[in-house]
């Protein structure tokens, strides 16, 4: 397989379903670079899973093209380097966890001599309790199935990993573990396509996130630029602070830093800031004005605003997006 800077190239992809008046995908174009973690975000029915199905060669597009490393998604060489976790893990419930991963190790073309060791390492990596290894998967909880599914996706060391809601049904330690595994994969230069509703997970892991709605990409956001986007800064003041001029001071801070005071009470204030730099200035100015800040945090992340369709007016212009 030839190595492209753009490992996955989707060009004007169209997909229709029988009996549905609207197209599921309306000419989507997107590129994913090698070693990149690319997120798909959007409401239910937006077309994220359809896009992922087309990328995996599970669904046949009605128009447009997909190439992975210059090859068709159904090419044998592509299947050798991909791993996939579906949203709803629906595994063969009569197999034990160990048998299931051994089966997929064999299907992925893994070396038989190292199978047992590889499988055990993988089950440990996803932190599946050892006493569950010999239990039939039909008796697993959703979170355990998700861990097992992740092990299945990662067995064989794939170079491209497609994950559909990997954190779904996982307990908090599971979500933390998932994040660590994904960051580890990123460090190993694996390419990840992640479909998730966990916005914080997306923000921490993804390099770019595409917002899909009604079968179209509304915007593609580069996460490294996150601090440059306008957001609401929430300031909380120490409860002991009895400053009668608190509101006056915070209004002065807002004026001096070019931000807008949206809301104020004796314990907290909400300010609309234009960027991360502006937020920093606000905090600095508060300190200079002897305001005792207990905490300062963005009220909502930029992805949350994008997801809930409430972007600040000035933000939409800054999204480096593909409005189609």
């Amino acid at each position: 397989m030839t190595v492209n800077e753009n490992l996955i190239v989707v060009d004007k992809l169209i997909k229709a379903y029988e009996g549905r008046p609207d197209l599921a995908l309306k000419g989507i174009s997107v590129e994913v670079k090698e070693g990149e973690c690319f997120g798909l975000l959007g409401p239910n029915g937006a077309g994220k899973t359809t896009l992922m199905g087309c990328l995996l060669g599970l669904l046949n597009p009605d128009g447009g093209s997909i190439s992975i490393g210059g090859l068709d998604p159904n090419d044998y060489a592509v299947r050798e380097i991909i791993g996939f976790l579906p949203e709803r893990p629906n595994f063969e419930n009569w197999l034990t966890a160990r048998e299931f991963i051994e089966y997929h190790h064999a299907l992925a073309g893994g070396d038989k001599s190292t199978r047992s060791k590889d499988v055990e390492n993988m089950l440990r990596r996803v932190a599946l309790q050892e006493d569950a290894w010999s239990r039939k998967t039909g008796k697993f909880s959703r979170g355990m199935l998700q861990r097992l599914g992740l092990a299945q996706a990662l067995i064989g060391n794939p170079k491209i990993i497609f994950l559909d809601e990997p954190g779904s049904g996982m307990d908090p330690p599971g979500v933390t573990l998932l994040r660590e595994i994904l960051l580890e994969l990123k460090r190993s230069n694996a390419t990840i396509v992640l479909n998730s509703h966990h916005l914080d997970e997306m923000e921490r892991i993804c390099d770019r996130v595409a917002f899909i709605k009604n079968g179209e990409i509304q915007a593609i956001k580069t996460m490294s630029d996150e601090s440059d986007y306008p957001h609401v800064l929430r300031l909380r003041f120490l409860p002991s602070q009895a400053d009668t001029q608190l509101q006056e001071k915070i209004e002065r801070v807002a004026l001096a830093t070019g931000s807008t005071l949206l809301e104020f009470d004796k314990k907290s204030a909400r300010l609309a800031v234009a960027s991360g730099e502006a937020a920093s200035k606000v905090i600095q100015s508060c300190i200079e004005n002897q305001l005792q800040i207990q905490s300062a945090s963005p009220e909502s992340t930029s992805l949350e605003r994008l997801f809930t369709q409430l972007p600040l007016p000035s933000e939409t212009a800054r999204l480096d997006g593909h409005a189609e």
């Binding site: 994220k48 899973t49 060669g57 599970l58 579906p86 949203e87 064999a106 299945q152 559909d164």
Partner: protein
Amino acid sequence: MLSKPIYLQTIKKILNHKMIMFALIMLGFFIPFSLILNPQNPSVSAVESWDAFSISAMSALLIVTATNSIGTALTLGGRSDYMPLIVTRPLHRFQYIIAKWLALSTVIIAVSLLQQTMLTVSGAYARWGLTNEMILAGFPERIISGLSVASVLTMIYSLPKQSLVLCGIIAFEIATGISIFSMSIAFPLPEQTSDVSTTIVTILGGDQWAKTTLLPAIFGGRAFSSVQQYATILVNVANFLAPQIHLYDMFTAKPFLWTPFLEVASNMLLSLTIASAILNAREYHYDSD
């Protein structure tokens, strides 16, 4: 060519399925035992009773698989299954089909040969008047039948919807019935008619009445030829889905003809090709978006 993991996994799955195992044990051992213990079989001739084993085995196996299909359809809605995890693996789709076919064949042939061995060793066949050559011919015949039945079942199981799978199984059962028992159908079928049954129907005047009165009254003047054409198609389809091969007859016939063997071989190839084509063309929905 053969995907060993899929092959072994499929055999394990079949052996792990309680209903299928129950049916296989019943067919493989219970029926032969009952016949061994009760050697007098007054109404059925030796060769016919031997044929009846194949058909009863197939029918019962299919009833079990149909039951399984209904259960699967109800629980999974025919949409989410584990196929997406398989087809995204480095595996050609025809390899998957070949592995499934051989696994299914292995189980069917194993049970069928065990049954044949039991009947041979117990002397049941000898008591029914089968010669040693006939009995010996039964072994490869059962292997060929097993491969053939498994190829058609593999094709049926590759269909994209549970409802289609179910229809396919029912069609297969009907076809098997027609292929084996076509001689009992009242109107004459091309090349499938038993002389005895035709004679009985002719003596009673049933065929003339059907030709000249019943069929024209229901379907119009050219009804009989239409029925004949339909019956020909039906028998051809039945022969495709459940082809019969009788090796002893084949090798003792003069002149010797390869046609039955070629027919079975071509049907197997065709079934497996169709199954691979379906698997290549179908879509795999792992979740409703």
